[in-house]
């Protein structure tokens, strides 16, 4: 196990290098540049004179050769000093340190909600296949798949404001600062996200469990007189969880960095919003650092998933 984990972590290096080159090249070939954006402004209220654009570019070091800019940035990654945002002049790591905990908390809450809904729903549907319980669960899944999560989020806000005259408190606070306010702020987007996740996981759980329940060892277990909990929970669910674990890990990684619309709807300063704004502003240090971070996170999530497989299925051995 130790050798496997070490080997996977070592492979992280070429992965990160490859991603860094791709993202650096992409950011530099995209039309538009941060100097123009700084001058014209986020609302388009300014003007970008050519001499001013050159001035800003020089001040930001963007007139240096690309290879020098890349080397400078990678050196910063290694020394954990990736510099400052070209847009706001704030240190990138400091800003990331403020936003990442929110995104992590939201991902954990929504995934927990999803699992609490999806596992029982999928199991009930599989065990009671062809009954109203199965159909209800499938309708629940289809509705969740069809409705975009940001639309669900918007509906939640409208319901709250029109029925109760209330909206979640503005101005995000961390769970240590004010747990109740933090809960009020995050529970609603977590529910919206969790529902969408639960819809997919429930479907996967159902189909995976149905396959497992057809296996010989399950029939043998029933024939031996084992009860429901032994057959379904100990033999069935445990073996059906493998594809579900894969799905959950992918979704978790996506939510960690990809819920920009939900962050906008609920006014949450997460990593998704930070990345999208940085792309719009052509804020190279922020975009490049965040993309690298997400690449590393996905590699680590995959590693954790692979380790989880060995716990679920003793037959699986890590090479």
């Amino acid at each position: 196990m130790f050798r496997y984990v070490t080997r996977r972590l070592v492979f992280l290096v070429p992965t990160v290098l490859f991603v860094s080159v791709i993202i650096f090249v992409l950011m530099n070939i995209l039309p538009g540049d941060v100097a123009q954006m700084i001058l014209i402004g986020p609302q388009g209220e300014g003007a970008a004179k050519a001499e001013d654009v050159a001035k800003i570019k020089s001040q930001l070091g963007l007139d240096r050769p690309l290879a020098v800019q890349y080397a400078d940035w990678m050196l910063g990654v290694i020394t954990l000093d990736v510099g400052r945002s070209l847009w706001s002049n704030e240190p990138v790591f400091e800003e990331l340190a403020k936003r990442f905990p929110l995104s992590l908390e939201l991902a954990l809450m929504s995934t927990t909600i999803a699992l609490l809904i999806a596992i029982p729903s999928g199991v009930i549907a599989a065990v009671n296949r062809g009954t109203w319980m199965d159909y209800s669960s499938r309708v629940f899944s289809i509705v969740g798949l069809a409705m975009p999560n940001f639309w669900v989020g918007t509906l939640i806000i409208l319901l709250l404001v029109y029925q109760f005259g209330w909206t979640p408190p503005l101005g995000y606070v961390g769970p240590m600062e004010d747990p109740w306010k933090n809960f009020q702020q995050l529970i609603w987007p977590a529910l919206a996200l969790g529902y969408g996740q639960a819809a997919i996981i429930s479907r996967m759980m159902r189909s995976s469990l149905l396959e497992v329940l057809r296996e010989d060892y399950v029939r043998t277990a029933r024939a031996k007189g084992l009860g429901f909990s032994a057959v379904i929970i100990r033999h069935g669910i445990r073996n059906a969880l493998l594809p579900v674990v894969t799905l959950v890990s992918i979704q978790f990684g996506y939510i960690l960095g990809g819920t920009v619309v939900m962050e906008s709807v609920f006014s949450l300063p997460g990593v998704g919003r930070y990345l999208v704004d940085a792309i719009a502003h052509r804020d190279f240090p922020v975009v490049q650092t965040l993309v690298l971070l997400f690449a590393m996170i996905f590699v680590l999530i995959n590693l954790i998933t692979d380790i989880a497989y060995t716990k679920l299925d003793p037959r699986i051995r890590l090479a």
């Binding site: 995209l30 039309p31 538009g32 540049d33 123009q36 954006m37 700084i38 001058l39 014209i40 402004g41 986020p42 609302q43 388009g44 209220e45 300014g46 003007a47 970008a48 004179k49 001013d52 001035k55 800003i56 020089s58 001040q59 930001l60 847009w87 706001s88 002049n89 704030e90 800003e95 403020k98 936003r99 918007t154 806000i157 409208l158 709250l160 404001v161 029109y162 005259g165 209330w166 909206t167 408190p169 503005l170 101005g171 995000y172 906008s264 709807v265 609920f266 006014s267 949450l268 300063p269 997460g270 919003r273 930070y274 704004d277 719009a280 502003h281 052509r282």
Partner: protein, 557 residues
């Protein structure tokens, strides 16, 4: 301003120093009674939603909360052009002079001192001498003096390395700034400039500390002003909080204890937050939002509408046939401007030329309609448009691209224009790009048509024409100008007699509009809304020039 006989400049300066201050033009801070329903409130006869109670005694310690549609890029007011920075920093930094609270139209004769107690102008219009307030301190305790004003203006006139100053051109008329003592500031001009005072009264002319400027203070991340509020905390993407400055130089003000600006990029979220009372003030609502809030809140809120400073326009690239003046005029004739108002401004816009309609420099409706291409849309204008296109050799079905920024408002504008062009047989295709790519394409001038919304900061011909309509203006995206218009601009810019200057400005517009460098479709209406617990605030026509909230207060409960 007072007109005097012509005297030599040095004698004038010396006379002021020895003789003391001239007339005090206004008490700083304004205040007093004012009509809470506003002056030029509506362009379509609408009144505010709900009714405010008569002026009451201010309540101390309230909290004003509102939403911004995005983060301020940074806090350096001198280098920025976005309302996001201006709105956030206006309560933090004082100005030398400012528009009076009751001067909702921001007329040039309604300016009062802020850090200045009074000022005198020489008879030849070349020298202004300001007497400054005593006992003013910056938020960090440093005393304020004339050196701070000098340093701030010079920073905008000659920005340091790496800093761009959008107001540099408008201050280029200043020859030198003198500080004979800590309480006196002299501004000497290269030529007469009657626009100087309105330009100095703009919300962008924040006065920084000279020591901060010299000491490489990070104006992007920190703020140290003399305003009624101090920067308390800011979390990007989350909120910005200002707290009352206990050492503010106007005794008894501000009334508010805090101003909190929440960063909310989603318009629906802003409406919901206001409806639920999470925010009690807004300057970002559309008419549809107001209707929705009216249904929910009714008389609990107040709405003020002003003829706004935003306008929709069409810019032309360097591709034929759009370089042909006949083709541009044809487009102007083909656009149904009333339909533009109905569709794009929800029926709440107004006609105008290059200077905002209803303002002191605008052409009257009759004068505007006499400009070729600006007559109200009719079958006659449509027929003329088609004739012009035929004469210019533009065939039926000619294809043109519409360079469009991504975003609902811009895309709607583009679709509207497509429809208008189809009436004259032009097949226009929106090319939707995200902001950075759109700005890049726009600046390169390599496009056919650029439907673009703009806004101005000040209803002043120097400010507006210098930015948009001269041959070398930075936002003259079509690159179409005329030496005649440029010459008229220079002439009116130095004309001290107001009536004479207005005639020149009218003539300048009448010569510039038919060049069709920028086709004006319509001007917008802007809306402010607040819960009736918010008192003491009056909106101005300009978005950037009256955001200080020195007189605003919030009732408890």
């Amino acid at each position: 301003m007072r007109q005097r006989g012509t005297i030599r400049r040095r004698r004038f300066l010396g006379g002021v120093l020895l003789g003391g201050a001239g007339a005090v033009l206004a008490a700083c801070g304004g205040g007093g009674t004012k009509d809470s329903s506003g002056g030029n409130g509506t362009s379509n006869g609408l009144t505010g939603v709900g009714t405010q109670a008569p002026q009451r005694e201010p309540v101390r310690g309230g909290a004003l909360t509102y939403s911004l549609g995005g983060d301020p890029p940074n806090f350096d007011v001198h280098s920025q052009s976005t309302y996001l920075v201006n709105t956030a920093m206006a309560p933090v930094y004082s100005l030398l002079v400012r528009f009076k609270a009751a001067n909702v139209e921001e007329a040039p004769d309604g300016i009062e001192g802020d850090l200045a107690k009074s000022w005198e102008q020489s008879g030849d219009g070349l020298t202004y001498v300001f007497k400054l307030r005593d006992g003013v301190t910056f938020h960090d305790g440093k005393p304020f003096s004339s050196a701070d004003v000098k340093a701030s203006l010079e920073r905008m006139m000659n920005p340091p390395k790496g800093v761009v100053s959008p107001r540099q051109d408008s201050l280029a008329v200043i020859d030198k700034i003198e500080t004979p003592d800590s309480g006196t500031l002299g501004i000497v001009l290269k030529r007469p400039a009657p626009s100087l005072m309105p330009i100095l009264a703009q919300g962008w002319m924040s006065i920084y500390s000279a020591q901060d400027i010299a000491g490489n203070f990070d104006f992007k991340l920190k703020a140290n002003g003399t305003g009624p509020f101090k920067l308390k905390e800011y979390t990007r993407g989350n909120r910005l909080t200002l707290e009352a400055n206990p050492a503010y130089f106007v005794t008894g003000k501000p009334f508010l204890s805090t101003i909190t600006l929440f960063i909310q990029v989603d318009s629906g979220a802003r409406v919901s937050a206001f409806q639920s009372g999470q925010t009690n003030f807004s300057l970002l609502f559309t008419e549809t939002d107001i209707e929705s809030l009216d249904a929910a809140l009714g008389k609990k809120m107040t709405v003020e509408r002003r003829n706004g400073y935003g306008f929709n326009s069409v810019n032309f690239g360097h591709n034929p046939p759009w370089t042909d003046e006949r083709v541009r005029r044809a487009l102007s004739l083909a656009i149904d401007r009333q339909e533009s108002i109905d569709l794009l401004y929800e029926g709440k816009g107004f006609y105008g030329g290059y200077m905002p309609g209803g303002g002191g420099w605008a052409l009257s409706q009759e004068e505007l309609q006499r400009v070729p291409g600006y007559a109200p849309y009719s079958d006659k204008t449509m027929a003329e448009a088609k004739q012009l296109l035929q004469a210019a050799g533009v065939k039926q079905g000619h294809q043109a691209t519409l360079l469009t920024r991504r975003g609902q408002n811009y895309e709607n504008h583009s679709i509207f224009l497509k429809d208008q062009l189809a009436k004259v047989g032009i097949d226009a295709r929106p090319q939707v790009l995200e902001d950075a790519a759109a700005y890049d394409a726009f600046n390169s001038r390599n496009y056919d048509l650029g439907p673009w919304g703009h806004s101005i900061a000040l209803d002043d011909p120097d400010a507006v024409f210098a930015e948009f309509y001269l041959s070398e203006s930075p936002r003259n995206y079509s690159g179409i100008g005329s030496p005649e218009v440029d010459a008229l601009f220079n002439k009116q810019s130095q004309t001290l007699d107001l009536n004479e200057r207005k005639k020149l400005v009218k003539e300048m517009q009448q010569k510039a509009l038919p060049l069709y460098g920028k086709l004006i479709e319509a001007w917008s209406t802007r809306r402010w809304a607040w819960w009736n617990t918010v008192q003491g605030y009056t909106s101005h026509v300009g978005l950037y020039n009256y955001n200080v909230h020195e007189q605003t207060w919030v009732e408890k409960g």
